[in-house]
Symmetry: C2
Subunit: 386 residues, 2 copies
């Protein structure tokens, strides 16, 4: 129970609270959820902590201190540890992107890599994104003074998740990818390719990244947060060659370098463990939970539409219900469940209620009861509204 | 030897290479220095790796995994771990600043805390700084579009190191502190108080921070990089209460949170080790090395002026010599020694040659030979120039 409570709080903060009037109310709910015993969190996009290889990581840390000595604790290179960059390069090479390790910058998570991409581009009036997308990216763009607009519109830069999108858990259609690549070449603009969920595709297929086809127009972003554990705060950025020096300078200005301790540990972990086998096991676990959540939603929340995800950590639910999402969340917390507010993912507000439900972090046995609680909360709010 | 070589490279990068034409030349020297066997680095402001408590940190990590379980590896709170914030609050309280742990944001090092301070303030045309100051701060201000100007001038914000300054290793005079506090109140402007070197003051005295006197006008910045080890990348920011929510939002947008692994490890380390005794030992070590470097400079480089430092990691050398600093560095690397280019610390260029020599990272026995090498390099360049 303590775990669920603590995850709820974290999940909420990671959902990037809405701005303005809604903010105070959302934060009040956050505090309430954090202290609600037995609450099941379907919020936050957290990986399943049961999959963290604690023993292997502990061993890797001691090996790192032993083998690497004080280098693991001293200042390091702004671009990151060679061993980690080589691992990332190998993985990208297997997917068709021939990237030299020298081109890769290790970042403090994917969030920083996204922000650095836009900071490297400099003045951007607008960024084209999917109609629903990662709230952290929206916050990063807005903090740089760039307005997120929907992908259909012409923009100064683009942000996409071609392999597996968040919140829908679906790959970008091939023709959309082709259209985007043509557009980048034609408009001489840049795209940020957020590959955070790539390795979670249930099929195990690792698609060819945009980076492979148009390396001079793509900022490629990845992370170990969804596949290994977020506490490392290790992600990466592959900037276009022409902007590499500027991106590295930005990285140094932001926080000198990613933490050397986690990098050293990661390098030893990757050398000593079968990471690919671990990924395969994680995919099976997540796919099983996704199926459970889908069937629970079909049973208990029939008024919501969703696509069956092909990867990722969540289901994106849409409806024609005209309900206040904070009212629903408040009722849900009372029933002992939480979810991510749909509005925080959206570029353009819509009238129908939408929400994100994560199947990733909760225990399998908790998924059906969680959805049943949410359905009860929905009935309460609907009755009140009627 | 391998250690020295690797430190040299890192030190260089941390010196924030000069911009423009000098950049390529400086980077070429960097590469050369990195592959020069037996080179003694007096560059970079690195702590002495011999002081890192490797065993205690290894133990703390295993305890963290044991006691905190998967929470150490999961996403965490954007403001950081409660235990670490409490340690920082305790230390500040002992120095006269009554700060609730809730007000402290754990950051990815002091560099990020400096950048976040300026980002939180929003548009700043100019930042008043000491005539010589930390190059990473200058880079951060410039990346936000703010022009560094000397403290005497009126500016939109100020950046100071009241406890122990970098590069001079001296505290800010009391009357300058008083004048600055008056000015902040009068102009209704803000100061960033960089306290990174506070705990290195040789006397062991922990001065009252600006934060204690004018909490509503001060962004207080600290770090474990100079006292424990930089590889953790753990620093902190105490923003003014009025701007706290905005600062936290910025922190989240920058990289979600400081790495949880290092925070959990740090919390266990601080609970299990006598950190104050370790600090006292480190101060004695650094003071001894500072004295050695001072006497070596007096003997071998009599044409340079410097103040005897009262803390910090370095000596700031000034002269009337009209020599190209890159020429000197090139000759120095040939002789097997390196230093930090004075120009990277300066707001206003000056004609006389200046440089920063760090006594912190090199072995005590290497300090005198290093200065002798530098003196040989200086003779070569002077002869060439004549």
């Amino acid at each position: 129970v303590a775990g669920a409570v603590s995850n709820e709080y974290q999940g909420w903060l990671h959902a990037f609270c809405p701005e303005g009037n809604m903010k105070d109310r959302a934060e009040e709910l956050l505090r309430r959820a954090a202290t609600t015993r037995g609450l099941i969190s379907l919020a936050g996009g957290l990986p399943d902590a049961r999959l963290f290889p604690r023993r292997a990581l502990g061993k890797a840390f001691l090996t790192a201190l032993e083998v690497r000595g004080t280098a693991a604790l001293q200042y390091g290179w702004p671009e990151g540890l060679r061993d980690v960059r080589e691992h990332v390069a190998d993985r990208l090479r297997r997917r068709g992107a021939n990237v030299a390790p020298e081109r890769i910058i290790i970042t403090s998570g994917a969030q920083q890599a996204i922000l650095l991409s836009l900071a490297t581009l400099g003045k951007c009036g607008s960024v084209g994104v999917d109609a629903e997308t990662y709230p952290g990216a929206l916050a990063a763009f807005r903090s740089c003074g760039a307005r997120p607009v929907e992908l259909g519109e012409r923009a100064d830069a683009y942000y996409v998740m071609p392999a597996i999108g968040n919140p829908r858990g679906l790959p970008m259609p091939e023709r959309s990818k082709t259209a985007l690549l043509e557009r980048l070449g034609r408009e001489r603009t840049y795209a940020i390719e957020d590959d955070a969920y790539e390795a979670t595709a249930f099929s195990g297929a690792s698609p060819r990244p945009l980076l492979a086809d148009l390396p001079e127009r793509v900022f490629h972003v990845g992370t170990f947060s969804k596949t290994l554990c977020p506490g490392l705060r290790i992600g990466w950025l592959v900037p276009p060659v022409r902007l590499a020096a500027r991106a590295l300078k930005r990285k140094q200005t932001h926080d000198l370098e990613a933490n050397g301790l986690a990098q050293a540990l990661l390098a030893e972990y990757l050398a000593g463990d079968d990471f690919d086998r671990r990924l395969a096991r994680a995919r099976r676990r997540y796919q099983g939970k996704a199926e459970l959540l889908c069937s629970s939603v079909r049973r208990h929340l029939p008024s919501f539409r969703f696509d069956v995800p092909r990867g990722g950590f969540s289901l994106w639910l849409e409806s024609d219900l005209r309900l206040n999402e904070l009212e629903l969340l408040s009722a849900a917390v009372n029933e002992g469940v939480s979810f991510d507010l749909g509005s925080t993912f959206k570029v353009t507000p819509s009238e129908g209620l939408s929400l994100r439900l994560c199947f990733s972090a909760a225990a399998s046995a908790d998924l059906e009861p969680a959805v049943a609680r949410l359905a009860r909360a929905l009935r309460r709010v609907t009755r009140r509204a009627a």
